[in-house]
Symmetry: none
Amino acid sequence: MAPYNEDQLNQIRDERREQILAAALGVFARRGPALTKMSMIAAAAGISHGLLYHYFKSKDELFTELVRRAMEGASQGVGDMLDHPGTVTGKLRHFLQDAMTEEARLSFLLIHQTRASEGVPEEARMIIGDYSILWFVERLRPLFLEGQRTGEIAGDDADLLITGLLTAMSGSMILHASDEQNIPLLNPDHLLRMVLAPGHIQPL
Amino acid sequence: MAPYNEDQLNQIRDERREQILAAALGVFARRGPALTKMSMIAAAAGISHGLLYHYFKSKDELFTELVRRAMEGASQGVGDMLDHPGTVTGKLRHFLQDAMTEEARLSFLLIHQTRASEGVPEEARMIIGDYSILWFVERLRPLFLEGQRTGEIAGDDADLLITGLLTAMSGSMILHASDEQNIPLLNPDHLLRMVLAPGHIQPL
Amino acid sequence: MAPYNEDQLNQIRDERREQILAAALGVFARRGPALTKMSMIAAAAGISHGLLYHYFKSKDELFTELVRRAMEGASQGVGDMLDHPGTVTGKLRHFLQDAMTEEARLSFLLIHQTRASEGVPEEARMIIGDYSILWFVERLRPLFLEGQRTGEIAGDDADLLITGLLTAMSGSMILHASDEQNIPLLNPDHLLRMVLAPGHIQPL
Amino acid sequence: MAPYNEDQLNQIRDERREQILAAALGVFARRGPALTKMSMIAAAAGISHGLLYHYFKSKDELFTELVRRAMEGASQGVGDMLDHPGTVTGKLRHFLQDAMTEEARLSFLLIHQTRASEGVPEEARMIIGDYSILWFVERLRPLFLEGQRTGEIAGDDADLLITGLLTAMSGSMILHASDEQNIPLLNPDHLLRMVLAPGHIQPL
DNA sequence: TATGAATGAGGGTTCATTCAT
DNA sequence: TATGAATGAACCCTCATTCAT
């Protein structure tokens, strides 16, 4: 009856699952969970809405799975940046560039939606709960302290500088997502100026 | 004979109307129009949902009235800043401080929601239509060009600087609104650094 | 305090009551009880909706009072017609003319609404309950039988003729009320033809 | 693989649609659009109210579709009658009999409701707009004039006769619908008497 | 696996009724 | 007596979810 064997079926299942997740990420990230309709995800994935429920028990479960993956990605992005060779300025510039790719932005937006929305599944909230902006501050603090020793980073309170940088970056992504026509993404070098010591700012 | 006289009735009506508008601004600005339920506004205003409809014909009309007021406020805020005496840096610092008061932030958020959401009343969209971020860029451009002449402002493309400054500021408001516990508003002086010439940046 | 004495107050009360009843009759008769809003009656009577409740406990009570009066009027109209001197044909023509005056029509319509609508107060339904079309048939039967003896009335089943005449008359009122622009009231002489013996029909 | 094939789905959809339309016609025709609740239609069709919205976008659209069909039917009924062979009297008798079948009556009632009610969808009003009672008068006028030549129809103003006949017929339908227990439909032969010349009236 | 018909809880809005003045 | 602000039940409609095939 079934025209596929076991392995082929598994492969189809996996592909479908990824296809759904990719489609759902785009919609959830831009519209937020409450305004995302299952029918939108189905349309974006090119399948029927009924089929979504073969792969995910509910909208909440699908959303939560995406949040889990987004957090893993974000966490790994910070790690990669810290491992990157070069000066503090170079590492930061790399980080900002990586963070502002299309894919990374969607993850950022999804995390923002999770934090900003009510009615978010409890589990999703718990997953990001520990990774508030403070989590990033702690990861980046050593880098900023080193930058202040080398004179690259401005002498203000390091935590404040980090928070500011991340805030401006995230906010820019949100605004850009809300109106791509009119609001360009922030230039990474302008962002960097917020935290670099005056002497290290280079003209564009 | 008449139970309340004309003046008393007008006073009750005006107070209620303002009370509703204030409550609605808070809810709409944070949640967006689609996720704002009339019952939330009623609860925030401490009245029944039925009473909302004595003062505003519909959710759309209430929202649109708020957008109208927000745009008037935003437009006036820019005008005031340009009239403010002092250096370019001083004017900008004042502008950022004014813009980040509680009241101004709610207006900014509301305008953001109007631009970012689907299903916004057509009239509201028209009201903000002309005031995209470009509108602000044009108003601020003379100031930035002057700042570049006086050496206060960095030499990059002025429009890019303005857009960046406004983006970071707006984004910060959005993030702060989404999670006041964890995401502080950007420090105006950090924001200024994005656009000031290195020589003019002063330690905090 | 009160600028009126007892008698004046009573007079005001009675006038107000009649004013409300007259206004309500027009609205109820044309729109039916369910589609008649208390605010419409108040507007038609030129008073506030709140005042309605000083004179009538509820919409249902107001409606029921009107039905009571309408039934009294209808019942009296039939009695008057039977007492009228002249031939059977003459009595019937008089009856039809009286029944199609503005005032009588509103009463007919109200009774129709009571019978046709759901959600009518139980008491109103009971008041008209006994006065179905059969009530009229019984009152008019002697007249029709006499007319058949004198040769004025056609020889068909008398009850059927009566029912037909009343139906056509009532239906005409309903249609006229629904679209006065386009649907004229039936001509009483055309109506009479439905029941007169061929030899007694006179050209218009 | 596909659960139902295309044909099965089309059949289910068509059946449901007709089932809903039939149920809705009965309710709308008797109660009018404003007093017809979607839950009533759903109950009459034996489905959930939610399902109605899979087949019709709104109450207004459902109502309008019914009005469209009713007008087509009414218009065709008149055409058929004119094509019917036989005397003028025979044609008219046939017309009255056809018009008073259960199905035709519901259509008549629906059109009446459309004309009589406020808050009717604009499109529905436009559909019947051209078909006021005058439309019927014009279609039937040649037949009546011919009847007057042959001596079958009374010599009064033909338009008045037609209007009267249609009014009495429609009114009878409305009354019958409002209280089937007590108000029988008018006998077509009694109706005919309203317009036939005395010599052509035959005993029942 | 895949589809879409079917259900029902929840939010916007209207309107009868109450009540402070 | 008279007004109109205030309340809440009920109806239209949307959309997450289930289920027959």
